[in-house]
């Protein structure tokens, strides 16, 4: 895995934060509001007083208005749990830009999670899943792209229930998005895909008679003419639609970035896709 752009990551992390999704946060006390009620200053709702409730939470104003003892409930503050699954299969190394951008985006997301007080867990998904030990930065730098399983590795990683999961991958899985989401999205608080593709993967050339050599195994002779390219694009579009469908309602969905466009353009893509937001926003 090529070294990620640490300086760019640090600079971007200073002006971004992860988008919170309170409905799916279940874990402990933290700096961010959870979906349940807790002890934060932010009002949540009222409920009727029950013996044993903390009298400090009685809403005397409501009692004045309605004559009923109402307990004022506040939002719970939670620490976000982020699980980053970085695809390190051989296809991610087909272009050093692609591998480098994927690593940089993974580092950015993990850094933002740390900023929020969370403890991000990073998994590399090459031949078999491997959790990067803390500190994760040197481990991320030393990880290599190899193997063909990627996100479809079986058995999958031991993931925590309720965590926010972000997949950083090219998403080019022959098994199909539904199968991947079914495996990796189980008990997830949220799940989204940051899809890193090269320009040639998005828009291949009509190169004529070629021998396609899949970097993850297999080859086929093919006449890459306009019709073949059109067929490829159709299948890619169906794959993208499959990802969108599989991730619908589970978070930010699919954010596709192009490796050749660079890190800054990719970060803008994350902003547009709602994976991160600006700190001033």
């Amino acid at each position: 895995m090529p070294a990620y752009e640490e300086a760019a990551v640090t600079a971007a992390a200073a002006r971004l934060r992860l988008v919170a999704d309170p409905r799916r946060r279940r874990q402990g006390e933290g700096a961010r509001l959870g979906s349940g009620h807790g002890a934060s200053l932010e009002f949540h709702d009222h409920r009727a007083y029950a013996p044993g409730d903390d009298l400090r939470h009685l809403d005397w104003s409501a009692y004045a208005r309605s004559g009923q003892l109402m307990i004022r409930r506040h939002r719970k503050e939670v620490s976000p749990r982020l699980e980053l699954l970085l695809d390190t299969s051989a296809s991610m190394a087909i272009d050093p830009l692609k591998a480098g951008l994927a690593a940089s985006l993974a580092a950015l997301l993990a850094t933002l999670a740390e900023r929020d007080g969370g403890r991000p867990r990073l998994w590399t998904m090459g031949g078999s899943p491997r959790q990067l030990a803390a500190p994760w930065r040197p481990a991320l730098r030393q990880s290599a792209c190899a193997g063909a399983a990627g996100l479809a590795a079986h058995p999958g990683p031991a993931l925590a229930a309720g965590a926010e999961r972000i997949l950083v991958s090219d998403g080019l899985c022959p098994e199909g998005p539904a199968a991947v989401v079914k495996g990796l999205g189980r008990e997830a608080g949220s799940l989204c895909l940051v899809q890193v593709l090269t320009r040639r993967e998005l828009d291949p050339l009509a190169a004529g008679a070629v021998r396609l050599v899949d970097v993850e195994g297999g080859e086929a002779d093919l006449v890459a003419d306009a019709a073949a390219v059109a067929g490829y694009k159709q299948r890619l579009a169906r794959l993208q639609a499959g990802w969108s469908s599989a991730l619908h309602g589970r978070g930010a969905g699919v954010v596709t970035v192009v490796a050749e466009d660079g890190f800054d353009v990719a970060v803008r893509g994350l902003l547009r896709g709602g994976v991160v937001v600006g700190t001033t926003a």
């Binding site: 090219d170 022959p174 008679a209 070629v210 899949d214 970097v215 086929a220 002779d221 093919l222 890459a224």
Partner: protein, 566 residues
């Protein structure tokens, strides 16, 4: 376009081979992808084995074609200029020493060089020339088909010094080298008697009256030592010098001169014969001759030797004084000593017929007609040389030593009065003398063959010429060595083991001294057109296509590797 080696076109067979390779080559350029499954299967090509398909014109294809064509160029010697039809001038130089004859300080060879240089200067750039020196055998001085500058350098270094010979061998060599269309030019001091048809002549001779020595010998035998010289030409004084000191002179007009007796000379002494006065050809006015090694035969006589034998021995000059003997008459043979035994056999008196081995040196030129012989041997172990009926009159016993047997009862014969009787002993003396180590003549004339007898047990010698070149010679089983091709006057050396036998080859030949027939002639060779000469390619023309073929092949390999890289 001209093909030097048409068979080289076989290399063109590489073209269909390259085409076939590319027709059936797996022609799909590898393209790494990360999602093979996204490519439509209906556009894929079956990958079950190779199949013929239109050629993809990749760099490796063109480079392979280029390599084949360059290789064909090199092998077939393709060229565009008509270099095989250039003019080819073959100069046959008269290498005989008479071209050293001078006129007003300039030799005929010098004048010939000037004339030939002028002709070489007129050759065009692509023309070629060959320089041959006549001789037996002729020598190739430059070429064949060399550039004019090379021939000019060889011509500058040439010095005529060969003995008398026929130039026909040189003309035959010229014809062989030139093939059809070559111009043959004879260069000498006169027109040769036989000139090939169409050959030109450049003769720069100037007629002159010349004289010199025709022969010179130093004799050393039982009659003592003497030097004999033979002169020809106008009368001139002849002087004899020993160790640089004049010891005798002769003023007579010509013919043979005998200088005898000679003062005592040490072994290895040299004498010089000098004809005084100016002469157009001074080369044969002097002769340095070497004192020959003593090869006279000394014999021991048994006290009972018959008087007829003693008389014959003395008559033919066989020495009987004290000293190491070479022949024992009446005695037995030993290492280095031959024996002749006289044995009375049972043979009856006879007047023939006599059967003789005439080729044997002992019996050469002997005629026994009219001789009364008695006492022939009936010994079957003797190898017969002369027989009468069943009896051996003269024979040789087999063995390591030469042991001759004469079966004769002299008192009962008249052999002592027969002319063949002393001749038999003269033959014996000559045969024995020839078997003594040494040269037959240390002062041969140029071109004259020599014989040498090597010491016992030695069968190889090394002959070195005046110019330092050497060659090894092998003797026959008897130790006799034939030396020929002494074709240069001067000091030669025959090294036999540790000893060196000097040979002074004399430039004496009246045929060469005859300058009266010299003439100046300039006759152009017949216009035979352009010669089909075989000219070597220049290094650049030879290497360029080969280097190109190698570079193209390497580049094709590199391109192929790059094309096949996934």
């Amino acid at each position: 376009m001209i093909l030097g080696e048409p068979l080289g076109l076989i290399a063109l067979a590489g073209l269909p081979a390259v085409l076939a390779l590319h027709l059936w080559r797996a022609r799909h350029a590898p393209l790494p992808v990360s999602a093979l499954f996204l490519w439509p299967a209906d556009r894929r090509v079956l990958a079950s084995g190779r199949r013929r398909a239109p050629i993809v014109l990749r760099p490796s294809f063109w480079l392979e074609i280029l390599a084949v064509l360059a290789l064909t160029w090199w092998l077939a010697d393709v060229h565009w200029s008509p270099r095989q039809s250039a003019r080819h001038l073959i100069i046959v130089l008269d290498d005989r020493w008479r071209l050293q004859a001078t006129d007003q300080g300039r030799s005929a060879a010098d004048r010939l060089r000037v004339a030939l240089e002028a002709r070489l200067a007129h050759l065009a750039d692509g023309d070629r020339a060959t320089l041959i020196a006549s001789g037996a055998p002729p020598r190739l001085l430059a070429g064949p088909a060399a550039e004019a500058a090379v021939v000019s350098r060889a011509l500058s270094a040439w010095q005529p010094q060969a003995g008398w010979h026929d130039p026909d061998a040189a003309f035959a060599l010229a014809a062989g080298l030139g093939g059809s269309g070559a111009e043959i030019l004879w260069a000498g001091d006169r027109t040769p008697e036989r000139l090939p048809a169409g050959a030109g002549v450049v003769a720069v001779g100037l007629p002159a009256t010349s004289g010199g020595l025709a022969d010179a010998h130093w004799w050393r035998d039982a009659q003592g030592e003497r030097i004999v010289a033979v002169r020809y030409g106008p009368p001139r004084r002849l002087r004899l010098l020993l160790a640089g000191v004049e010891v005798a002179g002769d003023e007579r007009s010509g013919g043979a001169v005998v200088f005898a007796p000679l003062p005592p000379c040490p072994e290895g002494a040299e004498a010089e014969l000098i004809l005084d006065g100016d002469d157009a050809l001074p080369l044969d006015d002097r002769a340095r001759i070497l004192r020959p090694i003593e090869r006279s035969v000394r014999a021991t006589l048994d006290p009972a030797t018959p008087a007829d034998v003693v008389r014959a021995v003395r008559a033919v000059g066989i020495r009987t004084d004290a000293g190491p003997a070479h022949l024992a008459i009446g005695g037995s043979a030993a290492p280095g000593v031959w024996s002749l035994q006289l044995i009375k056999g049972p043979g009856p008196p006879t007047r023939g017929p006599f059967t003789s081995r005439h080729e044997h040196p002992l019996l050469a030129d002997l005629d026994w007609t009219g001789a009364l012989w008695s006492g022939g041997l009936a010994d079957p172990t003797v190898i017969p040389l002369l027989v009468s009926g069943e009896h051996v009159l003269l024979g040789q016993r087999p063995g390591a030593f030469t042991e001759l047997v004469l079966g004769v009862d002299l008192p009962a014969t008249d052999l002592g009065r027969h002319t063949a009787w002393p001749a038999l002993f003269a033959n014996l003396a000559a045969w024995r003398a020839a078997a003594l180590p040494g040269l037959s003549d240390p002062n041969p004339r140029c071109g004259q063959p020599l014989t040498a007898t090597l010491p016992e047990g030695v069968f190889e010698a090394e002959l070195s010429a005046p110019d330092g070149t050497t060659r090894r010679l092998r003797a026959d089983r008897s130790g006799h060595l034939a030396i020929s091709a002494l074709d240069r006057p001067g000091r030669w050396n025959l090294r036999v083991g540790e000893a060196a036998w000097p040979i002074s080859v004399l430039p004496l030949d009246t045929r060469q001294g005859d300058l009266a027939g010299a003439e100046s002639v300039a006759r152009e060779p017949a216009a035979l057109g352009q010669a089909a000469i075989e000219r070597t390619r220049s290094p650049l023309a030879s290497l360029l296509p080969l280097v190109l073929a190698a570079a193209a092949a390497f580049a094709a390999w590199a391109a192929f590797r790059r094309e096949e890289r996934p």
